[in-house]
Amino acid sequence: MIRFAWRRALESIPVLIVLSFIVFGLFKLVPGDYLSEMELNPTISSETVEKLRHDYGLDRSLPVQYWLWLKQIVKGDFGYSFAQRRPASDLVMERVGGTLVLTASAFALALFLALILGLISALNVGRWPDGLSLWLSLTGLSLPTVLASIGCLYFAYWTGWLPVGGADTWRHLILPSITLAIPSAAFLARTLRLELIDTLGQPYVRAAVAKGLPEWRVVWHALRNAANPVISLAGVTLGGLLSGAVVVEKVFGWPGLGSLIVDSLLMRDLYVALNCVLLASFFVIVANLFADLLLALNDPRVRGR
């Protein structure tokens, strides 16, 4: 098991390296750089901008710049934020906690909702709870996150029950995580429902029922069997949550990686963007790894492989 985890971790290193190269390449391909905006300031001369460009190493060619960056990494230096004039890794580390908290709570919420909705509708196929859960989850799937966030904000303002944006107490976390969780919850609930219906129709379930097993044990058995695809999908969903967090963080003013990455990409703050993308990809990889481990935990057949 541990060997498997190690192998996966090692395999992800080349992925991360190629990724960093792609990001570097993208930055070089696009006209303009971080300093372009400064050129629009009438009180700053072009010589000053050129000097800064040289200081930041932005005038070097792509391979040289990339090679220097790789060399820095070995020394534990992940680059420098042009905008804030301090190590990019500091900036990223300040924000990482916010994103982790938000994503984790949204993920937990999504799983919880998916479990409830999925179970209810699978156990009541064709009756009103199933119908209700269908409409709920389809609505959740079809709401653009942007609109849902604004709707939630307006709701908070209108009722006064929850704070309108910000990030100080657990109450600030409620709306962003709900908004973020809705589409994933809906998606997972639909998948779980399908798998459960499928499993409940299997001969061994029928045998178990016929044997007179208590119903909760039948459902538990079926759930564990139905969980496999849901677990691996949940890993993928976590990546989706990280992307969705960008919008949610921006609208709710939640300090996280999402808003940092958009800003740094648009502002061309090269090393910050690079660190963010790599870290986010790393999270996705870890999430998938985690999903695989969970799968093995749940299913002895997978463990055997």
Binding site: E11, L147, L194, G240, I261, L265, L266
Partner: protein, 345 residues
């Protein structure tokens, strides 16, 4: 009951696709035409009954449509001359399916007078026409993207699954690369590379490119898995021993079995792409001003003051919701276990 709902959803989708096909005919104006005096004009009331006689032959509107004041309420009574709404009027020339025409489904006798079925935006552009053009753009992007995604995904998935060995490993690692890069960041990066020369058709292809890049990995993975299991089936082995070529087996015995999955995937990916385009517009990297898409229409109206002062600008949001909901509903129904497929699908 559910079956009829399914038919309804499919019907709505079909109608929207048709509307997108003949947009220039349905839309009374070009999406760019500005009636500047009618900034944020509420939907024009079309009168079907003559206030005096009670039964005129034709619908008409008043030339001074209601103008909203700053509080968002509209004055109740319209004034000005009556202008008859005509059907099949001559207007801005256009070209659909290779046919040149200038006939629009409806319009006013005087083409310089506006009839806003769904109100107008800040520049006084007809929202009804803009929504139709936006729908057209978004649907074309969604459908083209899904076509490209499925083509690439099926090809690489089959290649990886059927060939195995190094081809499999290389393709799957590339897949991992794209799947592990959080999608949105990929979009932002690619969008940033594409600013050079952006005419309308270029924007369209850029979107298609981005979405395909985003979706092919998922398709590849699943198709590969299916091919791997199908490869071991007895009838495939039988075909092989009988000397059938790889191409023959893949096309005849393997791909037909993946089509079921692909169909479902298509219906579920299109709404994802439509929502993705909205997110891009929100982040300021989507379709830009001369072009109209559902995303940038929705984002333009995305403000609390718009919601309260000129709520008709939220119609694109409603349309997006209906569109995506119908796609999801159809997709969900198709996924249902053991579902007897309707004949038409």
């Amino acid at each position: 009951m559910r079956r009829y709902l399914l038919y309804l959803a499919a019907g709505i989708l079909l109608a929207l696709c048709l509307a997108a096909l003949v947009t220039p005919f349905l839309a009374p104006y070009s999406p760019k035409q500005q009636f500047r005096e009618f900034s944020h004009s509420p939907p024009t009331r079309v009168h079907f009954l003559d206030p005096e006689s009670g039964l005129p032959p034709r619908p008409f509107v008043y030339t001074n449509p209601e103008v909203s004041d700053s509080k968002g309420s509209t004055s109740s009574e319209s004034t000005g001359d009556r202008v008859t709404v005509r059907f099949f009027v001559k207007g801005v020339p256009f070209r659909i399916l290779g046919v040149n025409s200038g006939t629009h489904l409806f319009g006013l006798e005087d083409p310089d007078q506006p009839v806003f079925l769904l109100g107008s935006d800040s520049l006084g552009r007809d929202l009804f026409s803009r929504i139709l053009y936006g729908l057209r753009f978004s649907l074309v992007v969604g459908l083209l993207s899904i076509a490209v995604t499925v083509l690439i995904g099926t090809f690489s998935g089959t290649l990886a699954g059927w060939r195995g060995g190094w081809a499999d490993r290389v393709i799957m690692r590339i897949c991992d690369l794209f799947l592990s890069l959080p999608g949105l960041f990929l979009i932002l990066g690619i969008r940033a590379v594409f600013p050079l020369r952006m005419s309308a058709s270029n924007t369209l292809w850029m979107m298609v490119f981005i979405f395909a890049l985003f979706g092919w990995g998922v398709v590849t993975r699943v198709v590969r898995g299916q091919v791997l299991s199908l490869k071991q089936r007895d009838y495939v082995l039988a075909a092989r021993t009988m000397g059938a070529s790889d191409w023959y087996i893949v096309i005849r015995h393997i791909l037909p079995f993946t089509s079921n999955y692909l169909r479902v995937q298509c219906t579920l990916f299109v709404p994802l792409f439509i929502l993705g385009e909205i997110t891009m517009s929100f982040l300021g990297v989507g379709v830009q001003e001369p072009d109209v898409s559902l995303g940038n229409l929705l984002i333009a109206a995305r403000s609390i003051s718009a919601m309260t002062q000129h709520p008709w600008e939220m119609v694109p949001a409603l349309l997006v919701f209906v569109l995506v909901f119908c796609f999801n509903f159809v997709g969900d129904e198709l996924k249902a276990p053991g579902r007897v497929r309707p004949q038409w699908w």
